[in-house]
Structures are given as structure tokens and as C-alpha cells.
């Protein structure tokens, strides 16, 4: 049980980087960016291929991030320069990336078993080698957890700084009110491109970390990732969000972990794994519709409260 929960937490943390990427496009830039599906697989493909070819896992991961940044750039250019609607721009990049990822990987999937990854490097440092962890059977898990927490923490730290800068402010205002932003002298096209690059860089980072964790990269692994990302963002927002930017980022991470715990739970309860995507889709649909439900529920709640007031 501990191991299942731990596995869910780790998966949640690794996916949290994708979720933060989705948060940046969906919540800050106000764009539903489907590039994510391609860039997560791209991160995995680049990291896997590089590691398989003998590259240092840290360099391989950085290379993966650069790949994602370029994917974001492609979508950004399609949208801002060629005036293709953002949804379609993302789809075009995503489709194109499928072929690119196949080329990068050289085949549909690649195992990384027994190869040096970021986690084995940390494992060699001695994390999880103590007797206590070994007895609990966490010898493999602890280094992964350490890396995941570290990566998420650094990402949150950097993003919090970035969105507090002049450029960060401009990016936020561009997503919220592009007309006002232009009238205040902000180049909204550049900001959209920048946001997409940051977002997809993070998503590819996530893909690289996931591939190394499961010791396996697959060009299909991005399928449905945008929905998983959205689900996590919404769960985080509904359950944990506070006002400050930092707390919102933390909420997004907690949302990603919560999503994985929910999935682990329903699987434990006997739901076939093949139904997962349907389950996720329905969850997201309900979550997106929450404001609608709320607007129906509020009047009912208020009328009940009023009646209670009258009787008391």
C-alpha cells in the first residue's frame, strides 16, 4: 500500500512539470495548447536516445528541454506569424512532432533498462541505501522521489521569480488582456511565443524525467497528456488554490499528485486500466462544468439558507 501511494506521489511529481506547463498556457496565456502531447513524447524520445547513445543523463535531459522549447517556438510562430488559431497551431506541431519523435528515437519505443539515468546517479550518491529504506523496500524509490522533489522545487522557485519580473508581468497581462497589453506597449506576439516555449520546455523536461523513471520511452506516451494536465490543474485549483502566485503553483503540483492518487485508488478498486482515459475525460468534463453546476446550486443553497433564517 505504501509503495502504491509512493508510486502515485512520484508519478504525480514527475507529471507536475507537465501540469505546470499546461497551467502556463491554459491559465496564464489563456490558450489550450495541444503541443503538449507531442512535446512530452519529444522530451522522452530525446532523453532516451541520448542516454542510449551514451550521453550523460543530465546533458540528455537538458537536450530534451531544448527540444520542447523549440516545439513551443514552432507553435508560437504558427499562431502569431501565420495567424493560425492557437488550438490548430498546437495540433499541427503535435502531429509533426510524432514523425520527428519517431526519427529521434529511430523506432516506436526504446528501453533504458540498466542504463545510467538521473535517478541512478542520485542512487549512487547513497540516497535510499540506508537499512531503514531498504527494509521498507524503498531503495529504488527514494532517489526518484528526491530527484522529483528537487526538480519541481527548482521549477517553482524559478517560475515564481520569473513571473515577478517585468517580462513575467507582461506575459501575465498578455494572457489576461491582450488589447490592454498592446496599448501599454507590450509585444503580445513575443509574449505568447515566450510562454509557449517555457511551457513546452517544462513539458519536455517532464517527459525526459518520466522516461528515465520508467526506463522506457514511447512515441505514443503523450496521448491524452493535455487532458491529464488539465485535470490536474483543475483539481489543484478547486482543492488547494490560494491567491498568491506561489500558492497557485504549489496547488497545481498538489493537483497532479492528487490526480495520480485518485487514479491509483480507482485502479485498486478494480477499474480496468483501459478505462482510465474515459475516467479522466469525464472527470475533466465535470470539473470544467463546475461553474455551471455552481450557478445552479448557489440559488438553491441561498434559498435554503433564507428559509432557515426565517424559521429560526
Amino acid at each position: 500500500m505504501l509503495q502504491i501511494a509512493m508510486g502515485a506521489v512520484i508519478l504525480g511529481l514527475l507529471w507536475a512539470l507537465t501540469t505546470i506547463g499546461v497551467y502556463i498556457t491554459y491559465k496564464i496565456l489563456n490558450i489550450a495548447d495541444l503541443t503538449v502531447e507531442g512535446s512530452i513524447a519529444m522530451g522522452a524520445a530525446i532523453a532516451a536516445r541520448a542516454i542510449y547513445s551514451g550521453m550523460d543523463p543530465f546533458k540528455a535531459t537538458i537536450l530534451a528541454i531544448i527540444g520542447g522549447v523549440l516545439a513551443g517556438l514552432a507553435t508560437g510562430l504558427l499562431h502569431t506569424k501565420l495567424r493560425i488559431p492557437p488550438l490548430l497551431s498546437g495540433i499541427l506541431t503535435m502531429i509533426g512532432l510524432y514523425s520527428i519523435n519517431l526519427r529521434v528515437l529511430g523506432k516506436a519505443n526504446q528501453s533504458l533498462l540498466r542504463l545510467k539515468t538521473i535517478y541512478t546517479v542520485f542512487g549512487d550518491l547513497g540516497i535510499g541505501k540506508d537499512r531503514f529504506s531498504t527494509q521498507l523496500g524503498l531503495g529504488q524509490t527514494l532517489p526518484i522521489l528526491a530527484v522529483a522533489v528537487l526538480c519541481v522545487a527548482i521549477t517553482i522557485f524559478v517560475l515564481r521569480w520569473f513571473f515577478g519580473t517585468e517580462i513575467g508581468y507582461s506575459l501575465r497581462s498578455t494572457g489576461d488582456n491582450p488589447r490592454m497589453s498592446r496599448s501599454q506597449g507590450i509585444n503580445t506576439n513575443s509574449m505568447i511565443i515566450l510562454g509557449l516555449m517555457i511551457s513546452n520546455g517544462l513539458v519536455a523536461f517532464s517527459g525526459a524525467l518520466i522516461a528515465q523513471q520508467q526506463a522506457y520511452a514511447d512515441v505514443q506516451m503523450g496521448t491524452g497528456s493535455i487532458v491529464i494536465g488539465l485535470a490536474s490543474v483543475i483539481i489543484g485549483e478547486v482543492l488547494y488554490a490560494r491567491r498568491s502566485f506561489l500558492s497557485r503553483l504549489v496547488a497545481v503540483v498538489l493537483g497532479a499528485i492528487t490526480y495520480r492518487l485518485i487514479i491509483a485508488l480507482v485502479l485498486e478498486l478494480g477499474m480496468p486500466a483501459s478505462d482510465l482515459k474515459l475516467f479522466t475525460a469525464i472527470t475533466v468534463a465535470i470539473a470544467l462544468a463546475l461553474p455551471v453546476f455552481k450557478s445552479h446550486w448557489e440559488p438553491i443553497k441561498n434559498s435554503i439558507r433564507r428559509r432557515v433564517d426565517v424559521t429560526s
Binding site: 517585468e166 517580462i167 501599454q184 509585444n187
Partner: protein, 264 residues
């Protein structure tokens, strides 16, 4: 100062919806001019302001400020020169950001944005000082989200943002039209005070002929994409609403929409 030279703008050219919004329009606004711009619905007032600010590219003609031709220049680059307030109070501010964040964005209008802090610590006192001018108590609410403010408060804030970094020309497009009458008067008085105090070169669109006569030193009336009246100084002070209405009727062969309200 600001020269609009022989500008034409047609929307949806070559389709059934083709609309000539500006027809060979020329206007020369001098340094310190405070122009009120009136005209019926669809006469092209907003289009003129949008062409000046670079929201739309003109089909023909030039937009020149201080002998610098801005015609091909993109909107965000022109923002260095123009301060703007729009009719819709939602347009001029970022609802999700706080009052101070909005002001910080406006303080950097026309400047390179870098990776330094979005708000420098010493700027807060500047913002508080400036917000006091509005007399709305916003100086105590720097970290309030702008989305929580009323339309009038947002419009006053937008006005402050448009002049925080002094613009060469201030462009106001019916910026009090969507407010309730009492708030509209307050925002208009505030605008007048700011423009007079700072001697700002201003182009203010209004749908109210009385306001157009009361404020400013020059009045321009548009009809169907052209200027049909342009009076300054003493001649402007002697204008009457009746005269403007008559002129409008002559030009259009129809009655000015809010005529009765204006004469009431």
C-alpha cells in the same frame, strides 16, 4: 504635433460588408490642443483613434507625430507615444492583476521590459501618490485585484495608467459613455483636471454635444468618415448645441440620435 494625413480605411474591402470608415481624412492636432471629437454612431471616430494608435493599418495616408512617420509602425511600438482610454472599462486594465501591477505595467510603457523586478519597491509610494489624484481611496488598496473594482474605478485607473508615463497624445474614446451618469461626470471632471494641469495634447471622443462644447479648446465633428466641422478658440466657445444639431441634420439628412435628450 499629430498629423493625420489623407487617411482612408475601408473594412471588409471587396465583400458585401464593405464599409468605408474613413475617407481621405486629414487632421492636424497642435501641441497642447485639447480636441473634442463628436459625430453620430458609425461616423468613424473609433476607427480614427484606432488608426492613429496602430490597432488598424490604414489603407492610404500617413500618421505622423512630431515629424516622425508612424504609419507602418506596430501598435505596441506606438504605445510609447499614445496614452489610451477605451469606452469599455474592461479593456483598459488587466482584471486578474492587482492595482499596483497594472500601474507598474503602465509605468513601463514604451520602455524595454527586462528581467528586473516587475515593481521596484520605491514605486509603491509613487503609485499611492498618483492614486490620490483620483480621490477614490485606491491608494490604500494597491494589492486589490482590479477585477474587483467597479467600472468607474477601473476607468479612472485606466486614465491614470494612460498618463503615468506622459504620452505625447492622449486618446480617449467615449471613456465615460458606459458609466452611470454620476460616475461619468466625476471621471470627466477628473479627465479635464488632469489634461489642463499637464497641458496634455488630447483627442477626446464624446457622444455628448454639451460636453464637447464645454471641454477643450477645439471641436471636431465627423460624419461618414470625414470631418464636417473644425472650430477652435473663441468660435468654439460660442458654439451651441442647437447649431451643432442643425449642422448634423444638414450633413446627414437625418436627426441626431440623442437630440431630444440633449435639448431636454
Amino acid at each position: 504635433m499629430l498629423q493625420v494625413k489623407d487617411v482612408s480605411k475601408t473594412f471588409n474591402q471587396g465583400t458585401a460588408n464593405e464599409t468605408a470608415a474613413l475617407r481621405n481624412l486629414s487632421l492636424h492636432v497642435k501641441q497642447g490642443d485639447y480636441v473634442t471629437l463628436i459625430g453620430g454612431n458609425g461616423s468613424g471616430k473609433s476607427t480614427l483613434l484606432n488608426c492613429i494608435a496602430g490597432v488598424f493599418n490604414v489603407d492610404q495616408g500617413h500618421i505622423i507625430v512630431d515629424s516622425q512617420d508612424l504609419t507602418g509602425c506596430s501598435e505596441h511600438k506606438r504605445a510609447k507615444v499614445f496614452g489610451r482610454v477605451f469606452q469599455d472599462a474592461m479593456v483598459g486594465t488587466s482584471a486578474q492583476m492587482t492595482i499596483e501591477e497594472n500601474l507598474a505595467l503602465a509605468l513601463r510603457r514604451g520602455m524595454r521590459r527586462t528581467l528586473s523586478r516587475g515593481i521596484a519597491p520605491k514605486e509603491k509610494t509613487l503609485f499611492q501618490e498618483r492614486l490620490k489624484i483620483l480621490e477614490l481611496g485606491l491608494e490604500h488598496r494597491l494589492d486589490t485585484q482590479v477585477g474587483l473594482l467597479s467600472g468607474g474605478q477601473r476607468q479612472a485607473l485606466t486614465l491614470l495608467m494612460s498618463i503615468l508615463r506622459e504620452p505625447k497624445v492622449l486618446l480617449l474614446d467615449e471613456h465615460t459613455a458606459a458609466l452611470d451618469p454620476k460616475t461619468a461626470v466625476r471621471v470627466l471632471e477628473l479627465t479635464d483636471r488632469i489634461v489642463q494641469d499637464r497641458q496634455l495634447t488630447t483627442l477626446m471622443v464624446t457622444h455628448n454635444m454639451r460636453d464637447a462644447i464645454r471641454y477643450g479648446n477645439r471641436l471636431v465633428m465627423m460624419y461618414d468618415g470625414t470631418i464636417i466641422l473644425d472650430v477652435k478658440g473663441e468660435a468654439k466657445r460660442r458654439l451651441s448645441v442647437e447649431y451643432l444639431l442643425n449642422l448634423f441634420d444638414q450633413a446627414s439628412g437625418e436627426e441626431f440620435p440623442d437630440q431630444k435628450a440633449l435639448l431636454a
